[in-house]
């Protein structure tokens, strides 16, 4: 007579116990088999299920006990010694247990997850990625934008619009910010991650002119967009002589008109100060804002191509010389004074050193032209004044990049040392972390028995496993402590008046933080790096060949 089909409950009970037996720890598996064997004596289905549940509880206890015992052993050790081959030496193992190592690593991770540590980690990341935005930064900006749109916060919208790498999204947010608060019209002057040659949309240019009619910066941006395609076309396949570039631009009436308007403007404001105020506002709202976002926003501000100023300045000075030569000294004087006037205006802005230097140089050329003109027409007094002014301009050139305020927040020498220490701690922390990971990985997956000649490596591996985790913990504290002065500097910048002095200082401090990664970049510079790699490979290949040849020659001798 065929045995009746077991009930569903019985089959479930049996299957679950069989599954548990597959993973049961070896040392108590026979008890699992003993429990499972009794299942066939139980007739009632739910009693069988109850029995199986008890079995699963036993399995859980056995696994937990096995795991705890495993944790108490050092890395690389096996639970059963029967895995050793007969006659083999017992394995060389670290002294510290896995439990100790796990506790130390958990403590390290806790330290690294403290709020200040997280800012420190994001600072390191920002410096090593050159203050470019990663996906996590983009997501943070998207969250900021979503919140700002919901709360109708024009200021945050303007900040995000200026920092987004997606030009369509940035321009959309810019429109939204301006519609909420027209005082942010200035953000239309930004590039919004479009190519330099992308012209300013006409409606934006009109709005900028309407909101800030006397600002020469706006027409300079418009002229830049006209000139950029010409630069690209001329420089595509060769380096043309300067006269060719000058001639190409001089023959473009639109560019000439824009530059003329720029040089006639009574004001020059590149909006860096406004942008910096916006950054300070957001940074104060969220002190944990990624330094990558701060740096990227700071340095993505649109700066004019000063070539336009130099070229137009030269053209104007040449026009003045032609006017003088054709007997129109007053016209020549007017042209040169206009150039000098605009250059003087531009040199008074404190935001960027290279704009100031360009303006100072332009002013020097115009003043030189005036000095020659006054000398030519016999106006000695004006010529002397021009000469005295030239001396002041030379002095201004020597000091063009000095900080604008003597009340510095940061002592740059001391900060450079602190930045170097901070980056060194970060680097050592990463190296130590990788060492910990590799040493434990190698210990856990090593073959069961190693030849004697590998014993030295095994000892090194065990010493590393013993001391690297503690070093990792110490380095994490060192990393946190080394960041404290830098965090303090950041806090000073956030709380200080968002003046242009602080804008310059924050730029310098962020650059100072990049000195370590820049050094690495130089070392890993492709030509130098590949030269080192090639040399190393060639040396290894030569050693290998030498050993092969030398080893082949000595083999027949030992056979005798």
């Amino acid at each position: 007579m065929a045995s009746p089909q077991p009930s569903l409950a019985l089959r479930v009970a049996d299957s679950s116990l069989q599954l548990a037996l597959r993973f049961w720890p070896e040392e108590s598996r026979h008890w699992g088999h003993a429990l499972a064997a009794e299942l066939h004596e139980i007739e009632k289905p739910f009693e069988a299920l109850h029995w199986a549940i008890g079995g699963l509880m036993l399995f859980t206890r056995a696994s937990a006990s096995h795991f705890l015992t495993w944790l108490k052993l050092p890395a690389g050790s096996r639970m059963s010694t029967s895995s050793l081959l007969p006659g083999a030496n017992p394995p060389i193992l670290p002294k510290r247990s896995r439990l100790f190592t796990a506790a130390v690593l958990i403590a390290t991770i806790t330290v690294l997850f403290l709020p200040q540590s997280r800012i420190a980690v994001s600072t390191v990341r920002a410096t090593w990625q050159g203050f470019q935005l990663w996906d996590s930064d983009r997501r943070a900006l998207e969250k900021l934008a979503a919140r700002a749109e919901k709360e109708k916060d024009a200021r945050t919208l303007a900040f995000v619009a200026l920092t987004f790498r997606d030009s369509d999204q940035g321009m959309r947010l810019a429109d939204k910010a301006v519609s909420l608060d027209p005082s942010f019209t200035w953000i239309y002057a930004s590039r919004f991650y479009r190519p330099d040659s992308a012209p300013l949309p006409p409606e934006w240019l009109a709005r900028l002119h309407a909101s800030d009619p006397d600002n020469g910066f706006i027409d300079l941006m418009a002229a830049d967009a006209i000139a950029q395609p010409r630069y690209s076309a001329l420089l595509a396949h060769r380096t043309p002589p300067p006269q060719e570039i000058e001639s190409a631009l001089a023959n473009d009436p639109q560019w000439v008109a824009r530059m003329a308007t720029t040089f006639h403007a009574p004001r020059y404001n590149n909006y860096i100060r406004k942008h910096w105020e916006l950054i300070c506002y957001e940074w104060n709202r969220d002190p944990a804002l990624s330094p990558a976002i701060i740096g990227y926003s700071l340095w993505s501000h649109r700066i004019p191509n000063v070539q336009n100023l130099k070229i137009f300045g030269k053209l104007e000075i040449r026009r003045a010389q032609q006017a003088l030569a054709s007997g129109h000294p007053d016209e020549a004087t007017r042209i040169l004074q206009e150039v000098d006037g605009f250059a003087n205006l531009m040199s008074q802005q404190k935001e960027t050193g290279f704009e100031r230097l360009t303006a100072i140089e332009l002013s020097r050329e115009a003043t030189e032209g005036l000095q020659n003109l006054y000398t030519t027409v016999g106006r000695g007094r004006e010529a002397s004044e021009a000469s005295a002014r030239l001396q002041k301009i030379e002095e201004a050139k020597r000091t063009y990049y000095l900080p604008v305020s003597s009340a510095l927040l940061v002592d740059s020498n001391s900060f450079n040392r602190e930045a170097l220490l901070f980056q060194t701690c970060a680097f050592l922390l990463v190296v130590c972390g990788v060492t910990v990971a590799f040493s434990f990985l190698l210990l856990e997956i090593r073959p069961r028995s190693l030849p004697d000649r590998r014993a030295a490596w095994q000892r090194i591996l065990c010493k590393t496993a013993d001391y690297a985790p503690a070093s990792f913990l110490i380095l994490s504290f060192a990393f946190l402590v080394s960041f404290l002065p830098i965090g303090h500097v950041f806090a000073q910048f956030r709380s200080a008046n968002a003046s242009i002095a602080t804008f310059q200082e924050i730029s310098h401090t962020l650059w100072a933080l990049m000195q370590f990664p820049n050094l690495f970049e130089q070392i890993l510079n492709p030509p130098f790096f590949w030269w080192v790699v090639t040399t190393a490979l060639v040396t290894l290949a030569a050693l290998f060949l030498f050993r092969l040849l030398f080893g082949a020659k000595s083999a027949p001798q030992t056979a005798r």
Binding site: S28, A34, E41, W51, G55
Partner: protein
């Protein structure tokens, strides 16, 4: 055999069941039915008794065809003496009562 065991009510019930026929081998399910102790509680106690040396175990010699061999349990000689002493002590302390007196 010097491991100090935690003697619970369930452990005493199991000792009483094993002492009922001390020289006989007992199946796990039979002990469970006799003492009404579920498998999740029974087997850890059996494991501890075995580890202490009070309990001996063996697999049955001729299992039924189509079924795996069953595990059998019996108190060792010293285990019987120890179990009787523990039961007596627990009864005196009024910590535990034999199953017969509970019925």
């Amino acid at each position: 055999m010097g491991i100090r065991l935690r003697i619970s009510h369930q452990t005493l019930d199991i000792l009483e069941a094993l002492l009922a026929r001390p020289s006989q081998w007992h199946y796990g399910y039979a002990i469970s039915r006799q003492t009404s102790i579920p498998s999740g509680t029974l087997y850890p106690i059996l494991m501890r008794l075995n580890k202490s040396g009070w309990l001996e175990t063996r697999w049955e010699d001729a299992p039924t065809t189509g079924r795996p061999p069953r595990h059998l349990y019996r108190l060792t000689g010293n285990g019987r003496e120890w179990a009787r002493e523990e039961l007596r002590s627990a009864q005196q302390r009024e910590f535990w009562k034999p199953a017969a007196s509970q019925a």
